[in-house]
Amino acid sequence: MTSYAKDTGSEFPSVSSYRDLKVQESPGYWAMVRKRILRDPVTLISAAILLVIILSAILAPVLAPYDPYVGNIMTRMKPVGFEGHLLGTDETGRDMLSRLLFGGRLSLIAGVVPVSIALLIGGSLGITAGFFGGLVNTVIMRVTDVFYAFPSILLAIAICGMLGTGLFNTLLSLTLVFIPPIVRISESVTTQVRNLDFVEAARASGAGSFALMRYQVLPNVLAPILVYTTSLVSLSIILAAGLSFLGLGVSAPAAEWGLMLNSLRQMIYIDPVLAALPGVLIFATSMCFNLISDGLRSAMDVRLKV
């Protein structure tokens, strides 16, 4: 290859004279993301809280002072701070702290797993539909619309009822429920991005469909899809709780926040603080997911100047 760097003529100042001038160099992408997150206290605090919740769920067998499934009828419905039971006991005398720790395991799984799988499937379908358009788009989107015809909770109940109870079937039904909205979101952002000039510019430089999807479309649609998806995690925890309540999800003795919330419901006049505890944890977890997703979106967007 011949060198391009020839003298370009007298109209221009000699390039070599300011060739080594330093402008502010852009830091690497991940360095920039890290710097922005470290400057964002809301995201940091949410991440810390979520980390504590996740760790305590993982370490539940070590941390829990009692067996979460064995109650003592003598110490039923004791309030928060009762001697020996830091967070009191539930209606059958089981230690609340232990149950909440163990409950975190099932709830976090019910929140994260269906949404992640739905993100993979729904995201691929939506991006494909948006990118290729035409017949592909029509087929994928109309099939999605069929699922949309049912309210999400009813659809989950119907699928669960058909498949039977158990954790696996709960996860499966929730996954199916979350695919259609993710397909829709991905399709709409992909349609927007694929019509932007830089996609055509890339095509003009010789990029094929796969390269366009991988380098032009995917990085530009990932952020909005991820943000939407993280907001579904909280919904997923709550839906899983609802299914358990109806006897379609995990069944009674199991420790799960939604199930606990429902069974403590009757105690709300006796000890409202105790009855609210699982709800507080569901709320805290969902809030943390939402705030983190929001923080990530601003940190990962190269277009935003900070």
Partner: protein, 330 residues
Amino acid sequence: MKHDIIAEPGILEVSNLHVAFGRPKDRVSVVNGVDFSLAKGEVLGILGESGSGKSVMLRSLMGLFPRRTHVTGHVRLAGQDLLAMDKKTLRNIRGRDVSMIFQEPMTSFDPVFTVGRQITETIRRHDGVSEQDAQARALELFELVAIPSAKSRLTNYPHEMSGGMRQRVMIALALACRPKVLLADEPTTALDVTVQIQILLLLRELQREMGMSVVFVTHDIGVAAEVADRIGVMYAGRFAELAPTRAAILTPRHPYTRGLLAATIHGQQRGDHIETIPGAPPNLAHLPTGCAFAPRCGRSVAACTEKMPEMTVFGKTHMARCYNPEPSQI
């Protein structure tokens, strides 16, 4: 790079190009029979109103069409017909033998990658060189288009650059694989006037140095006069006039070209009304059978409404589609 073009009359040969959008029953014909030949090292400027088919014609020169486009005719680049080849060959040619500078430097870069990455990507795609070699070439290209502190600029994201700077990057990107033909779609329209002239001078300089052929589209007659060797004036998807720059501007033969020239602003016109062409361009879905310009033309004769006039050659290289052309001396 050592293609034998002596056997070919031009590096780019376009014949009988028609482009239409939409389904057969409500078809809109945007390009209605374009023929031209571009010599090696020649700069062709294409002028015309909005909607005259300039940009669509330019894009079809590298086979870029939106969905549901009906194309007929031939676009031959160094003897190969771009419209007849398979997609893979076409992709290999895009960006390597023929590349394009887009109008909007603001939106024509992928916002999530650094500009350096976007250039090295293209170089590696077409030449299969190592990352280091590609980076070295990207740096040379940046210096070629006179971007200060090129090395650190390569690590910038598109939003960190100004419009003029980005247009320079776009030119660098278009030149990355030493194309035979460079297409430019209003390369200076989105820039402010002081930057426009810098970019134009840069383009002309690079074109001469690299011996490229250039087709560029513009609204601005001044720009065309500054840069082009030959000017093509498009109206309703056809060339109304195709002539060497000097002849097109000094002695236009087609009434439409004359109207366009009369509608530009000159220094001595202060206080006068600017001449205009009455009416509006025709609806491309229902083109008149005769000359598309006849309804707005002050010189139309009976034949004009019956049949589209053929390209008539005046002198050696001056061509216009008109039954009643302007006199050769004003």
